[in-house]
Amino acid sequence: MTRARRRKPYGVKSAPYAFLIPATVLFLLFFALPIGYALYLSLRRTEVSGLGLGKGARKEIWAGFANYTDALSDSELLHGALRILGYGAIVVPVMLGLALLFALLLDTERLRLRGFTRLAIFLPYAIPGVVAALMWGFLYLPDVSPFYFLLDKAGLPQPDLLDGGPLYLALANIAVWGGTGFNMIVIYTSLRAIPAEIFEAARLDGCSQLQIALRIKIPMVAPSLVLTFFFSIIATLQVFNEPTTLKPLTNSLSTTWSPLMKVYQDAFVNNDIYAAAAQAVIIAVATLALSFGFLKAANSRTKQGASQ
């Protein structure tokens, strides 16, 4: 007993660290180590001599920052970034706008079939991205799409959705279809958390439903709007499934349409993991800068609003 009591202060001090060990070990093994390895690879390259056939013809050497300068001066990566900016400019506002609208509608009092509607809007999120893209791909191809069949019967013009500007709409549509439900649930959950007496007070003051939505609900769910915006930006920067799945269906999508597709192409088709590692690091840094930049801006605005 005395032994245990003497040990107690030691145990109390070290317990938090002991609790941290599992997470730390996992973090180091599966997060820090791979990132470190990617950083290492991004500074390496292979050097081939002569024909490069046979033993010893290929060595791995230090490349310095050559992979980075190559990636940054590669116009294809920049063009890919611009393309997904255009894509994101459609996806993010439309998806979050719809999510907010649906969440507000679901939150109104006299709604019937609320559970069913919520599930129906959420359901596409449960469908794997590749499957969704394949399904939409079928619907976009004029020769097999029922929509085009109906347009044809009605004598209406049939736009080519897999080319030029409409291609962005076609891709964005898949993301919106799949992502709206998830974001709606996030916003809806925080709407339900608003105390009911606030609405009661508002109604006593003569607020209409619309005014409640615009002046009370939206400002009060601002933090979850920030959160969903944050997730959407990251998802946009990482878009890969949809264009990769639609690519074989059209001449308009190149193998390097989005930055991540270029990373995939370099790593797994062109077999240049070093260049791919450098590009991955650049994309990660850009994603961090963009998303945390946005978070910081959003936070400082909220603080300003709170101090007023």
Partner: protein, 440 residues
């Protein structure tokens, strides 16, 4: 109490680490530090052809049992992904003993030092294959890096009934092919003879081979890249011209829309390889028995040259501890008549070994071509004229450049020449970047 928690969590961590390190090191298939060469040997074989495990079973129960060599097939995805996977495995010295590799991937694998030279063990099989096929496995050197398994000589497939209906005759030269496309457009403007597809570089490579292109050649210790040589320019110009004037379609193959076009007779011909019946069976099931096969149109009338689209080989890796045993299996698989018959039956391949290209399982035409009893006799005759292919260490880069640049050109129905130049430039730039010797 607290003490116990600390102890428990420490134990949990230890257990977790043991588990994690366990994952990393328990990868040995027994192919690595196996028993001595005299004892029983077990080999792993990475391959994608369907039914290969059944063919390996024949070996395991017969010849392999006698020699004490057991082969286990591990099913893989085909194509580019597998090449990367094998190279990665070889870096960790954990490559399987045997791999299925497409011909155009062989130089890439050799240049990454993945494949063993098996000329001593299997070099005597040379006479069983057409020269053009064998040369792809030796890369034109004295070494032998793989044994040819299947080949894909190019042919011309067409809808016999619709050709008759529109009064078209089967083209024997490419000029006639262009005339046929135009004649069809005149008679049925909403139909196309065929399409130029930018999503499979292999077909274009095969068409270029037919015209005499040698995309990668070596001189001294330098590679020479000739993707924009006159022969390929001729091919690119021909197809670009047809797309530009609207005589043929410009949409990619292997899409639901393409399947429908073949199935409904919107496209009435397809330049493809000997394996086309399999594709047509799934793409155009309603038109079985209405198609026929003819030799590929020629650049010079009266010739009988064709190119290859696809085809693969069996290679032994440098990581294998039992190269001799692996080479013996590879040789059996691709030259033994029982093995080849099983390959045709179980895997549905068209064997590269010339003796197996007629008779046996190939005595009857494919079910889809029941109307053409001499299908495989004709195919074997066409296969004899297979032009040699010349592959280099970065075919994947050239293929990607083809897809991107020709897709753009086909989409805008513009000249194909700049796309071909871009393909050549991308390939040369990549070789130089990696440090290969390149002659201008």
């Amino acid at each position: 109490m607290k003490y116990r928690i600390v102890a428990a969590s420490t134990a949990a961590v230890l257990a977790a680490t043991a588990l994690l390190t366990g994952c990393g090191s328990s990868d040995d298939d027994g192919s690595g530090d196996g028993p001595a060469a005299s004892g029983p040997v077990s080999l792993t074989y990475w391959a994608w052809a369907p039914g290969l495990d059944k063919v390996a079973d024949i070996w395991n129960k017969g010849e392999g049992k006698k020699a004490g060599i057991t082969v286990t097939v591990k099913k893989q995805a085909s194509g580019d992904d597998l090449v990367t996977k094998i190279i990665t495995a070889a870096k960790a010295h954990k490559a399987p003993d045997l791999v299925q590799a497409e011909y155009q991937a062989l130089p890439t694998l050799v240049s990454n030092d993945v494949l063993a030279d098996i000329s001593k063990e299997a070099g005597d099989a040379k006479g069983k294959f057409a020269d053009g096929v064998w040369q792809q496995a030796t890369l034109g050197s004295d070494a032998l890096y793989a044994l040819p398994q299947d080949s894909g000589p190019l042919m011309f497939y067409y809808r016999q009934d619709l050709f008759k209906q529109y009064g078209l005759s089967v083209p024997t030269t490419w000029d006639e092919f262009a005339e046929t496309a135009r004649a069809l457009k005149k008679k049925a403007p909403d139909k196309d003879l065929t399409t130029f597809s930018s999503n499979d570089s292999g077909l274009f490579a095969g068409l270029a081979q037919q015209a005499g292109a040698q995309w990668w050649t070596t001189g001294g210790d330098k590679w020479k890249v000739a993707i924009d040589d006159p022969a390929t320019q001729k091919v690119a110009g021909f197809w670009g011209g047809l797309v530009k004037e609207g005589a043929i379609d410009n949409q990619p193959m292997y899409t639901p829309a393409w399947n429908k076009a073949l199935n409904t007779g919107k496209q009435i011909a397809w330049v493809s390889a000997v394996w086309a019946p399999g594709t047509l069976t799934t793409a155009a099931p309603d038109t079985a028995g209405k198609w026929a096969m003819a030799p590929l149109p020629q650049w010079t009338a009266g010739e009988s040259v064709t190119g290859s689209w696809g085809g693969s080989s069996t290679a032994v890796t440098n990581d294998s501890k039992h190269k001799k045993a692996a080479a013996a299996f590879a040789k059996w698989l691709n030259t033994d008549s029982a093995a080849l018959a099983a390959l045709v039956k179980e895997s549905g391949i068209y064997p590269a070994a010339t003796a197996a290209q007629t008779g046996g399982a190939l005595a009857k035409p494919p079910a889809y071509f029941a109307n053409q009893p001499g299908f495989y006799t004709e195919a074997a005759k066409i296969a004899q004229g297979t032009a040699p292919a010349a592959w280099g260490p970065n075919v994947n880069v050239a293929y990607t450049a083809f897809k991107d640049n020709f897709a753009k050109a086909a989409k805008s129905r513009s000249d194909f020449a700049p796309a071909l130049t871009a393909m050549q430039d991308a390939t040369v730039a990549d070789l130089k970047k990696q440090g290969f010797g390149v002659s201008e």
